[in-house]
């Protein structure tokens, strides 16, 4: 079935990947630059990696990013999973479609609009109480939970649809309460969707710049915001060193998860065959 890709096709694929990876290659190359420039390569050195580990502000920003990503992705996963089961369970068509429409808004809206909309809300509420510094960790977390929720819901919903509804009924007939039936039967079945939703929420949170930029205060810089403030002046190669390290970490994670999931697939097909 699989066709061999023609030479032209291979060349084309290669060119597109060259385009996608060129700036990353440049970035990695200049993280080893001995000079301060990000345009002229002067010589190999690990100087900027040392510099990176001495940079306390970047470290704090990275820590903030991690804390917000962990907290917000856990909150959005729990709330989103509950919401998905509810959306799946609603008997009223109107309720169902209106909840789904609202869920789609943060994904359809430009991020800048989502960002300023939340900023306006926080500033307005702060104004009502006569406070000025409302923007900070709490507002960042609220904003992150909000834009992660649709992704969690959209990851969990398809799994719910695939799950056999009779299983939960059977569990209840056998004496489970509805909550037990959910916990013991439905939850394990939708677990893959929950986990991919959680992972997506986490990566979206770590990577988010635009929304965070509008709802963060001075005390709650995340890594992307710190990078942004550096790009206003001149980016030093220690940022490149940091992103090289992140790139390597993600590459390793992806390869590992790819190996695991391809093994899991093989197992599943075996199980399916045994039925």
């Amino acid at each position: 079935m699989t066709k061999k890709t023609s030479f032209g096709g291979k060349l084309y694929t290669g060119l597109v990947f060259l385009f996608l990876y060129a700036p990353i290659a440049v970035l990695i190359l200049f993280s080893f630059n001995s000079g301060k420039s990000t345009a002229v390569f002067e010589g190999f050195s690990l100087h900027w990696y040392e510099e990176l580990f001495r940079d306390a502000a970047t470290f704090t920003a990275f820590k903030n990013s991690l804390i917000i990503a962990v907290v917000s992705s856990i909150i959005s996963t729990i709330m989103g999973t509950a919401a998905a089961t509810a959306i799946f369970g609603y008997k009223n068509k109107l309720v169902k479609t209106s909840v789904m429409t609202v869920t789609n808004i943060p994904m359809m809206n430009p991020e800048i609009v989502t960002g300023i909309a939340m900023m306006l809300l926080f500033v307005f509420i702060g104004g009502l109480f006569g406070k000025t510094g409302t923007l900070g960790f709490a507002t960042l977390t609220i904003a992150h939970v909000t834009f992660e929720l649709p992704y969690v819901i959209l990851n969990v919903l398809p799994k719910l649809k695939q799950t056999d509804a009779h299983l939960s009924e059977a569990a209840q007939d056998l004496g489970c309460t509805p909550f037990q039936a959910f916990y013991k039967v439905v939850l394990p079945a939708i677990m893959p969707g929950i986990i991919s939703g959680l992972m997506m929420a986490f990566t979206l949170s770590i990577d988010d710049f635009i929304i965070s930029y509008f709802v963060s205060g001075t005390s709650s810089q995340t890594l992307p915001i710190r990078i942004f403030s550096m790009t206003k002046r001149r980016v030093t190669p220690d940022m490149y060193a940091l992103s090289t390290l992140i790139f390597l970490a993600i590459l390793i994670l992806l390869v590992v998860s790819n190996v695991i999931s391809s093994r899991g697939d093989k197992k599943n097909t075996k199980k399916g065959g045994g039925k």
Binding site: T2, I24, T85, P110
Partner: protein, 284 residues
């Protein structure tokens, strides 16, 4: 039994519904509120009327966004076809390779493009070397290449950052499409071009539509790409909104611009959805 499960459903759903009302719907109402009031909170149309000054910016944003989206589509479509024709192992590897750059911070990737396109950057230096060589030929006199701070650089930045969002939906749709339809069309005597035009493209329209919106929306509303690659000459609507909120402190004007941007994008999405509901061939 049914009543009980529906009670559970309501308990499970209510936190999200409350959250969505508070942090999705109310903020959008705040945008509308700020758009139609002045600094002291009185109702006014002034902000909306002053948007007229930015008509050129809005048109430029839409134009560059459209250009980037169309280029992304042209680049992504063949790649998606190539990918969909490969074996599953290679497919998952290529999907991974396409998604990997998206995990790098987009600010740094854009910044990296800036250094490549700069006048002493890698690409410009290379191209100017070629220009110099050509200029030694008789009757040839080319100007040195200048890439940074042009509209072309901004479009390149948009295509670069959002291309994966075009490739992946088209590829996914192609993968799901029934390949026997293509074979049937070939068996019925369609030549390659006919099959491509009448079978492959219509089948992939849902992917094109979602790719189109996923590239167009962030392109139109970007502000970082235009600041870094476009310099001062290419101000987009996103730049103006950002300035109102971060430096000029004119929330009301910023809100009204956002309001207009949001309406424009929802109109575009509605039009796109209309296309995908139709037969499909209309898009081309």
């Amino acid at each position: 039994m049914k009543k009980k499960s529906s009670l559970m459903t309501h308990i499970a759903g209510s936190p999200y519904i409350i959250w969505a009302v508070l942090f999705i719907i109310v903020p959008l109402c705040m945008v509308a509120y700020y758009a139609f009031t002045d600094k002291s909170g009185n109702f006014t149309f002034d902000n909306m009327l002053s948007i007229g000054k930015y008509t050129d910016t809005i048109i430029l944003s839409i134009w560059l966004g459209l250009l980037a989206t169309v280029i992304s589509l042209v680049v992504a479509y063949p790649l998606a076809m190539i990918m969909a024709a490969k074996g599953p192992e290679k497919q998952s590897r290529m999907t991974m390779l396409i998604m990997l750059p998206m995990w790098m911070n987009f600010l740094l990737r854009t910044y990296s493009w800036m250094t490549i396109l700069e006048d002493n950057g890698l690409l410009t230096t290379g191209l100017n070397y070629i220009v110099d060589c050509l200029n030694t030929l008789p009757n040839v006199s080319l100007d040195p290449v200048h890439l940074i701070n042009t509209r072309g650089a901004v479009v390149l930045g948009m295509v670069y950052n959002f291309l994966p969002y075009m490739i992946l939906p088209i590829y996914t749709v192609m993968l799901k499409a029934d390949r026997s339809l293509v074979e049937a069309a070939q068996d019925l005597g369609g030549n390659k071009l006919d099959v491509f035009r009448n079978v492959t493209i219509p089948l992939s329209v849902p992917g094109i539509v979602s790719g189109f919106t996923m590239v167009f929306v962030p392109s139109v509303s970007t502000f970082f790409i235009s600041q870094k690659l476009g310099g001062t000459g290419t101000t987009l609507i996103g730049d103006i909104i950002e300035t109102q909120f971060q430096t000029a402190n004119n929330f009301n004007l910023g809100a009204s611009l956002s309001f207009v941007l949001m309406i424009l994008i929802f109109i575009c999405l509605a039009v796109m959805n209309k296309f995908s509901d139709d037969d499909g061939g209309v898009v081309i």
